[in-house]
Symmetry: none
Subunit: 206 residues, 4 copies
């Protein structure tokens, strides 16, 4: 879809939609799905309540749209990050670094990300969309293939199945992000991705 083909009207609509989603994201992230009212969202976004319903058919739809859009953006950036880099280690470094950067620049999203991926999504009526779960799965698969490739090239020892290695690295980055979220000063997300990677790479035992 070329931008040039969008009429002023259409561009305006997109801008409104973006504003609504931004306001909702903030509020949901601050207070949680059930502690935010549609009225509140409308006010924060500076639109009328009815206008909100012109864009999203109900509260759940609005919420899911946010999650879906963020997940897509997230997915795209991560996919690209994992493709860049000359060797496997470099790709893993890119994964760790990019995931950190992305989240730290967008605190609101982190909270929702954890709420959703770590099993609290049952707080909202319906679980995550198939689409989103697939995104996440794809990221893990892509990460797994990096590990697999490393193992094939004898660069990595096969200390676990590639998929589990992917899950592990993902959970390590999550853990560091949570620490940062709770106490940004005391537990900054490491600038050097090796701090996290080494936990996986170096082997604890002498």
């Amino acid at each position: 879809m070329l931008k040039k083909t969008l009429s002023r009207r259409e561009r305006e609509k997109l801008r409104q939609r973006r504003d609504m989603l931004a306001a909702s994201l903030e509020l949901f992230s601050e207070k949680g799905y059930h502690n935010v009212s549609m009225q509140e969202i409308a006010e924060r976004a500076e639109f009328a309540l009815g206008t909100l319903y012109k864009f999203f058919k109900n509260k759940e739809d609005l919420y899911k749209t946010i999650i879906a859009e963020q997940a897509d953006r997230f997915h795209e950036v991560l996919t690209n990050a994992m493709e860049e880099g000359d060797d496997e280690i470099e790709k893993l470094r890119n994964f760790v670094r990019t995931k950190g950067t992305m989240f730290i620049n967008d605190v609101s999203v982190v909270r929702l990300y954890f709420a959703e991926t770590q099993g609290a999504s049952f707080n909202i009526k319906a679980g995550l969309d198939k689409q989103i779960l697939e995104n996440i799965e794809q990221d893990l698969q892509q990460l797994a293939r990096i590990f697999e490739s490393g193992i094939e090239k004898k660069r990595f020892r096969k200390i676990a199945e590639p998929y589990y290695l992917a899950v592990s690295l993902n959970s390590l980055t999550d853990a560091f992000l949570l620490l940062w979220l709770e106490a940004p000063e005391r537990h900054p997300y490491p600038e050097n991705p090796d701090v996290i990677l080494d936990i996986l790479c170096k082997g604890l035992l002498e």
Copy 2:
């Protein structure tokens, strides 16, 4: 307090309380705090609505009681597990094994555990009690001391600060528990704790 000293009345009360907490735990775990009504809980527990309020002063109190009781049980068992074992590796094995066993025997709790610890607790008005956060922190500290001791004894390489190693191992077990929760058949929680521990211990790089 010896059971024998409890009157029939008192024992009956305890049983009722337990039934109520059990019903609530199930429902909160299935549907989330905000999607469960007190009426629903009363029905599931087979008590009248008013009786529920005789035992818990309001919905939040009921919820927090569940979380607190489970967190205490959890904390106690884990603390003990980490104390047993002759050397550091054995203690870590006990941690991984016990955490798995405990959760797998009580699926309802896992869901709430993740909802609460992974940042979704903001879905309920008040966050986690100080007490519970302290429990969790204590577990991590205890785990960290095991790593520290291993490093001092030159059994472990210091691939990261002990506290971060503790956080890492904890997040790895969480990740495997989540996998199991999503697809118990495909991703059983490993009976042999080394499957998880090795990810930390063996070192990926050749």
Copy 3:
């Protein structure tokens, strides 16, 4: 009813009943009918909830019993007061003095008295009993007869119908009692009944 004919059991019952009524009177007077629960009354009276219901068939019955008993006591004392005294003025003095003394000794009752007689009784489902209204009416009639007699004997000028004079004197004492209730220090109920009576007797105009 001779006291001697009452068995110990019966005397005990009467004492319990009195205790219950006393506790209820206190509470109703402090907080108003709707802001007092039967549970609360039972606790204050140090009886079990069920026992309360053995004595009074429901909350309204309990309330009405209090009102009726106090009204009876009130009526009896006032009737006697108005009978004593050698002339009309003395009888009126006795009325004013006795009404004051009685209320001031029993603050709880005053509040209920005003709540009931001044038209707030509609706050409770049913209005005042016929019996009580009749009591009040009788008092007014008796007072009216005193005025009437005074007029016949040419001691009083007929500045209004005797009944309205009765109502007037009654309302004057009520007004002074209300003042005292609001600010006992600033507006003590006059020890000398003439302070009130004079307002009626002396005539404002020169």
Copy 4:
């Protein structure tokens, strides 16, 4: 604020508010605060429950608004009445006449007035607003000044302190209003204010 400056929307809002207050006044007056539900008020006013809550933040707010508005109106009218008239007697006549007229035209208000001023306000959680008590006190003070002025000019005998004379006259009008309220046919509120005033003015004793 000129009516012309109100938009149709605003006028509509005012009308709705008035309708709600009118329905509430009726119901509270008929049955008392605690025997009226918000649902009932909504039905009587022919609005949805939620609409009621758009206008008044809760039941107590609704009640207090009624009381406050009526008290203000009452206060204003009485103040003016007491200012008109050439001499003291005329001012007192105006007070007695106006108070009667106002109440007789608005029976619902009388009931609430008595419920509130005669000490039953403790039936509702919060007592009367400071503002309202001040209104009442101001009226009494103004009345007292009239008596004082009359005494200074030697038109009145000082049969009691001016403030107590004010309280007395006020209580006399209240008494006649209560009589009328109970039996309008038998005890009409006197058209000629002297019927009430004479009780104070003429002096009972020969």
